[in-house]
Amino acid sequence: MAGNGVHERMTGISELSADLPHWLEHAWLERYLDGELEAHEEEAFEAYLLDKPHLIAKLDADNLLRAAIAEDAGALKDVRVSDVSSGVRETRRSHQGPTGWLALAAGLVFGVGLSWLGSPYLGDIHAGTHAPSRIVFDTLRGELSAPREEAGDPAAPVRVYELPLPPGANVVSAQAVHDGRATPLPPASPSTDGYLTYLVPASWRGRGEFRIEIDFADGRTAGTRLTFPL
């Protein structure tokens, strides 16, 4: 419990009584969660966040992460992608992580003998040193919405794209058109939840689009083309 003298101590840590700008709040929070604040700063920030639900939620998510790791520390050493796919229903195959997509990407790349991307683009890819950005087009329902981008290492030479297909669609052909040049892509099979994963050079960003020709096994539609911006 607060002991004698707490009122005196409060005087010194009540400096954060005004709302901070969002960016500064965020900076405080990150430093706080990373354990980088000095003791008096930590004291002040904890008092500051007490009546701010958006900060409390982030703090509690971090608390839960800490608790979950403590509860299941073995998972950090033992888990495999296959452990997850059967358990987390909301998880897409393509979201099973860099382990999954790096393996897939490697398969794609080496499966076509590096011919479609060219070795100059790929000579510097090391899973352990680069974490590429991941761009996910979440839905085909209605208009194509802006993709979600999970930031990666800015130095990564490639970007991972995850492209959704309508249910039952098969890929007839796929290509990436960049700077007016069409580069054929392997006609990958969609995952069970309908996503294609492609790895392309980061330098292509904003310079073209994917063109995916699809058809359907039941023949209801033929020759449909889907486009996704690079």
Binding site: L64, L65, P98, T99
Partner: protein, 228 residues
């Protein structure tokens, strides 16, 4: 973020304060309804801080929170808190002290009961709702881990969250730069939060406390004293 410690109050109440500042005086004047409103403002924050300062997953958090709330109400009823703006700092100090007291009590008892046994036994471990939530959290952590391809990054998480090693030490021992440390931790944190939102364990935008809080639990009127 240079200058963290020198952010000076403008003297203007923030949005949260505008809500609860008037409640302090009303409580001192005997307004019981104001008590509920004020506790409602701070309960989630008190829980979050208590979880922060207790061991991970420690069920004693509920008791700590109850102690803090009871003590707080006592002080407010007496009008002991002269500067209402200092209330958050007062609450924060109370939470930290309550957590410290809890572990001090345990140390005194530890000779007869292994501490880890005490910590890991949750009183409601067989509650189906809690068990279900725990299962979803476990899946979320496994999902998170599955998305981390580099063993060193997993090791970083273990050292930071489980072993509570500080950043400098982790960076030195793993041979990584501070920037990499921050990226790994930040991404893990954000991704885990996304998974919790998807699992329905956290609301987007943080309007509610993500972990179960005994909202219906009545504030004890025994002054927060627990039997050791």
């Amino acid at each position: 973020m240079d200058g963290c410690g020198v952010v000076v109050s403008t003297g203007k109440a923030n949005e949260g304060q505008e809500t609860w500042l008037p409640l302090v005086g009303r409580i001192a004047a005997g307004d019981r309804q104001a008590e509920g409103q004020l506790i409602g403002q701070f309960r989630a924050g008190i829980y979050a801080l208590a979880r922060r300062h207790c061991r991970p997953g420690d069920p004693a958090v509920d008791d700590v929170v109850q102690d803090v709330i009871c003590h707080l109400l006592e002080q407010l009823r007496r009008g002991s808190i002269k500067d209402p703006r200092a209330l958050p700092a007062y609450i924060r100090t109370s939470v930290v002290n309550a957590c410290t007291s809890e572990y001090r009590r345990r140390r005194m008892r530890a000779e007869s009961v292994p501490l880890d046994d005490v910590v890991m036994i949750a009183p409601d471990a067989h509650d189906p709702a809690i068990a279900f939530q725990n299962q979803r959290v476990a899946l979320a952590i496994r999902q998170l881990v599955a998305e981390m391809p580099v063993q060193r990054d997993r090791e970083l998480l273990v050292r930071f969250y489980l072993n509570e090693a500080d950043k400098e030490r982790i960076c030195t021992e793993l041979g990584i730069e501070a920037g990499h440390f921050h990226r790994v931790i930040y991404r893990a944190r954000e991704r885990f939060r996304t998974l919790l939102v998807r699992a329905g364990l956290v609301q987007e935008g943080g309007t509610t406390a993500p972990l179960p809080t005994p909202e219906t639990q009545e504030v004890r009127r025994d002054g927060g004293q627990r039997s050791a």
